[in-house]
């Protein structure tokens, strides 16, 4: 579909720009260059889903922060946030509580060139109607003035695949956008290079990348494309270039993976929860079921998936085939992207969730010999304000994107985002050091886990012969035994020895700045014939430890666990059945971000119908007596619109933050 040149090595461009000389090894990054190198691997935290002013949706919602700002934010620098006043001064700021180790900024590929061309008065597209509309929307002073243009232009990412086209402003043959897209792409690669710490301190690792944002009829199929280093493809291939995932993969193979030039890349699917159930559909672009080649390509290029982010969790839905009381965590009540944008509440489709994909993947492996959905786990923010890894529930400022833009002054009262959305999560990897080669390799082998925000550390190994007292071994020794006698999270169990059942050793520790742990669960899924079965086991901790939250203050009550460790053996193992096992580490309950904001506004939602606690009317408590007497949560009409949302019965007042490990798979002998 596209007639762009073959792969280019931007190394030369960047080296030339850097003024520091150039050679072919500009991007080489061998293992062992960091002072802190650990053969048995350490945990590194990152965010691989970050948008800046270069993303069309972020740009129109008033985000002015850049890719450089996103990297600065990850390092701990305070950045500006919209809305900006008439003098261009930001009225809000944000700061992360701890630096991140790695970041991929993933601006939407679709309109990189649109923004550049429409803001460049020398470009031939500058006077095009879409550019005029875009600039008018950028200057608009009301949400309505923005939304119509956003909807019209962004809708190009939602047309059916067979009708996909570049915006008309791109000119004959789309050449203006192709050229401009390459320019912006080279700047993106350059800024990732400038932010990458090449000293042996290895403080921040950056990966050039972008988001392929295809969503036919707004059914989300988005993927983030992550390059190992500055050796990248000619273009950031978008939905306009390649409207099917396999088209994107073909580009990545042709220009990167198969180009024998050192390029390496992977793609990270996300928000299958908003795909209206089509994300894992067994259907290729030609309408036919998957072939083995398709499954192999998917397996190779997409080793991990985002299980959680700002726009909800994609793990599982409540009420599935197996009882899983914790499936209701941050499930969005929307089936697709448009419903999210417009806040049209509707039922998501269970076929858009990872639990379904894991079952389907095993079935497909039976028939194709390859599991196309053998995903490891990541999580991210999907921030649209350059706030990489900004996950604090008690300091949430809204991430935008499909949520509330916060562009206009005065800043709206009430929640800074759609109340169903959330601050999002983080990805952690087990890697030898904080450098590109090591971190990227961890993604490749799926030695990754995702969290809903807190830095809960978890390590899991699976094997056949681990001793039952492995939790008592020193960590270094345990890791050595873990690798030698089995596989880490993300791996496939080696052939079975004897008649043993698999043993999993799982050790988790709470976030040093967060809440204690409540328990560790093992989620086991297996194929019984062609039926996908799931069982959830509590394997460590105590779900009934009585920990709770004071809803007046959001202070935690009761205890939990600083760390939990167990060696668990599958009690119902059948060696003839395909299976997977992943760990879910659960914190004690804490306030959701909406509750933090309501509590700060002196609301009390500690009631089944979210009635304001009448105690708040007690003058001794010093609270707002007049306000308490004037409102009734059962009657939203009595509340100002911004306040009524605090009483929304659909909002969970507390959550149990968590970590999800990549699964360990078992394949029966053929």
């Amino acid at each position: 579909m596209l007639r762009s040149p073959i792969a280019v090595l931007t190394a030369f461009l960047i080296a030339a720009l850097s003024g520091c000389g150039s050679d072919d090894s500009a991007f080489t990054d061998e293992l062992g260059r960091c002072a802190e190198f650990d053969k048995q691997r350490q945990v590194y935290w990152g965010d691989t889903h970050v948008h800046t002013e270069l993303s069309f949706d972020a740009n129109l919602q008033g985000t002015r922060t850049t890719q450089e700002d996103a990297y600065d934010f990850a390092r701990g620098v305070t950045i500006d946030l919209q809305p900006y006043d008439e003098d261009g001064v930001a009225t809000r700021t944000a700061t992360i509580d701890r630096p991140l180790h790695f970041v991929m900024v993933s601006d939407h590929a679709e309109f990189l060139s649109t923004i550049a061309l429409c803001n460049d008065s020398s470009s031939p597209a500058y006077g095009a109607d879409q550019c005029v509309d875009y600039r008018a929307a950028k200057e608009a002073t009301t949400p309505e003035g923005v939304f119509s243009t956003f909807a019209l232009i962004n809708a190009l990412t939602a047309v059916q695949q067979e009708n996909v086209r570049y915006p008309a402003l791109c000119g004959p043959g789309d050449e203006d956008c192709l050229q401009s897209g390459m320019d912006v792409w080279s700047q993106i690669v350059e800024s990732a290079e400038a932010a990458y710490d090449r000293s042996d301190s290895c403080q921040l690792t950056t990966f050039p990348g972008y988001e392929w944002s295809g969503g036919p009829e707004t059914k989300n199929l988005h993927r983030n494309v992550m390059f190992k280093d500055g050796n990248v493809t000619a273009l950031p291939y978008s939905y306009f270039d390649e409207p099917y995932p396999e088209g994107l993969w073909a580009r990545l193979k042709e220009e990167c993976l198969d180009a024998d030039n050192g390029c390496d890349v992977l793609a990270i699917p996300h928000n299958s929860n908003l795909s209206d159930g089509i994300f894992f559909e067994n259907k290729m672009a030609n309408g036919q079921p998957f072939t083995t080649e398709y499954a192999q390509t998917s397996h190779a290029i997409e080793p991990v998936i985002e299980i959680y982010q700002h726009k909800g969790a994609s793990e599982c839905l409540p009420g599935g085939t197996a009882p899983d009381e914790l499936c209701g965590f941050e499930v969005l009540p929307f089936p697709d992207l448009a419903a999210t944008n417009l806040e049209n509440v509707g039922e998501p489709d269970p076929k858009g969730f990872l639990r379904f994909a894991y079952g389907e993947g095993m079935k497909l492996e039976d028939s194709l010999g390859v599991n196309p959905f053998q995903y490891g786990i990541t999580a991210a923010t999907d921030t649209h304000i350059s706030a990489s890894g900004f996950v604090a529930e008690n300091d949430f400022k809204g991430h935008g994107g499909a949520g509330q833009p916060n562009r206009f002054l005065p800043a709206p009262e009430g929640f800074p985002d759609i109340e169903y959305l959330s601050p999002g999560g983080l990805t952690a990897v087990w890697a030898e050091e904080n450098a590109r080669e090591a971190i990227f390799s961890a993604f490749r082998r799926k030695e990754t886990f995702g969290t809903s925000g807190p830095r809960i550390k978890v390590r899991m190994f699976g094997g056949w012969d681990y001793p039952s007292d492995l939790c008592n071994a020193a960590e270094l020794e345990r890791a050595a035994q873990g690798y030698a006698g089995g596989v880490p999270m993300g791996g496939t169990l080696p052939p079975r020895s004897g008649s043993a059942a698999p043993k999993l050793v799982v050790h988790a520790m709470q976030d040093s700045m967060g809440a204690p742990l409540q328990r560790i669960q093992i989620v086991k899924g297996w194929l019984e014939g062609q039926e996908h079965r799931v069982e959830v086991y509590d394997v460590a901790g105590n779900p009934d430890n009585g920990a709770s939250v004071d809803m007046r203050t959001c202070e935690r009550r009761g205890e939990g666990f600083g760390d939990l460790c167990t060696v668990w053996e599958d009690p119902a193992f059948d060696p003839s059945q395909r299976a997977y096992y992943y760990a879910r580490v659960i914190e004690v309950p804490t306030c959701r971000w909406t509750t933090w904001q309501c509590v700060r506004a002196v609301y009390d939602c500690n009631d089944p119908v979210r009635q304001i606690d009448l105690d708040c009317c007690d003058p001794v408590a010093g609270l707002n007596v007049d306000w308490c007497e004037s409102v009734d949560c059962r009657d939203p009409e009595s509340l100002p619109p911004a306040d009524a949302r605090c009483c929304d019965p659909r909002l969970e007042p507390t959550i149990q933050e968590r970590a999800w490990t990549s699964p360990i798979w078992y394949q029966p002998a053929p």
Binding site: G88, E139, Q203, Q510, G562
Partner: protein, 292 residues
């Protein structure tokens, strides 16, 4: 390249007044009158002056009449106030100019200031930093590129979850054991945690992020030799022994060239913005009128 040339052109335009004024020496530059509130502070007055200068510059070079955003905006304004008009866009635009709408509309003002500020910080080719410039920049600002010092330390941990009520007693016993170790490593002592190493090279910040403020403080103090602790964290109790310290350092340009270049470019943009603004400020004669 086209954009680079355009930037040159724009900058040339903005700076034309300043250069001309300087070259003419004693001849006066442009004169403007700035109206401010009677209670305006000196800072507010200076801000008004600078914006008035920039707006005067862009208007002198006709940007208010050629910028498509301004054009679109004024046409929309005119269609709003003259909804029955059948005039085409150009006629409406010209009428808006005749009415002076471009001089008072806040969006036009914001757009023109934006373009002027962009032009002010545009970097010409001859200001792009060379390797020597970058080396000098690195040497002049080591604080910006400094890496945190590290310690090589031994670490023994006792888990509160595992030991419960025995934690304090176990800690006392552990302290005695550690005291008796001498220079020997604490092999096999204490409880494991994911990623915890009996000996590792780390920064104080990393220890603080991983285990909390108290362990971080002990590492930051950096006392070499004795076992310190127990210090408390959310996980339990920690004993720390620092074996050696590596001071903070600044990496070489060969290693962090791209990082230095990005920092220098930010600085050049700021310098240019300030220099060019100062040149314009000097070139202008400004009369300030305080309005009641």
């Amino acid at each position: 390249m086209l954009r680079t040339l355009l930037h040159f052109f724009l900058i040339g335009g903005v700076l034309f007044s300043a250069k001309t004024a300087f070259q003419r020496g004693e001849q006066a530059g442009p004169e403007i009158t700035v109206r401010v509130r009677s209670d305006a502070t000196p800072g507010e007055i200076e801000k008004e002056i600078r914006e008035a200068i920039l707006l005067n510059e862009v208007r002198r070079y006709g940007w208010d009449r050629t910028d498509p955003i301004v054009f679109d905006h004024l046409v929309r304004n005119m269609r709003f106030i003259e909804p029955e008009s059948t005039d085409d866009d150009l006629r409406l635009y010209l009428r808006a100019l005749q009415m002076g709408m471009h001089e008072h509309d806040p969006i036009v003002r914001a757009r023109l200031l934006y373009r002027a500020r962009q032009a002010l910080e545009s970097i010409p080719e001859d200001r792009m930093p060379s390797r020597a410039d970058l080396q000098s920049h690195l040497e002049s600002h080591p604080d910006r590129f400094e890496r945190e010092g590290r310690v090589r330390m031994q670490h023994v941990f006792l888990s509160r979850s595992k030991r419960g009520a025995a934690l304090a007693t176990d800690a006392r016993e552990m302290r005695e054991k550690l005291s008796g170790l001498g220079e020997r490593p604490p092999t096999g002592l204490g409880d494991p945690l994911p990623g915890l190493r009996a000996e590792q090279l780390v920064t104080a910040s990393e220890i603080q992020n991983d285990y909390g403020a108290e362990p971080g403080r002990v590492v930051e103090e950096g006392i070499i030799g004795p076992w310190r602790g127990p210090v408390s964290s959310v996980y339990g109790l920690h004993f720390v022994r620092i074996l050696s310290k590596e001071p903070a350092y600044v990496p070489s340009l060969d290693v962090i060239g791209a990082e230095v270049r990005a920092d220098r470019l930010r600085e050049i943009r700021k310098e240019l913005r300030e220099q060019r603004m100062a040149a314009l400020r000097d070139a202008y004669t400004v009369r300030v009128v305080r309005a009641p």
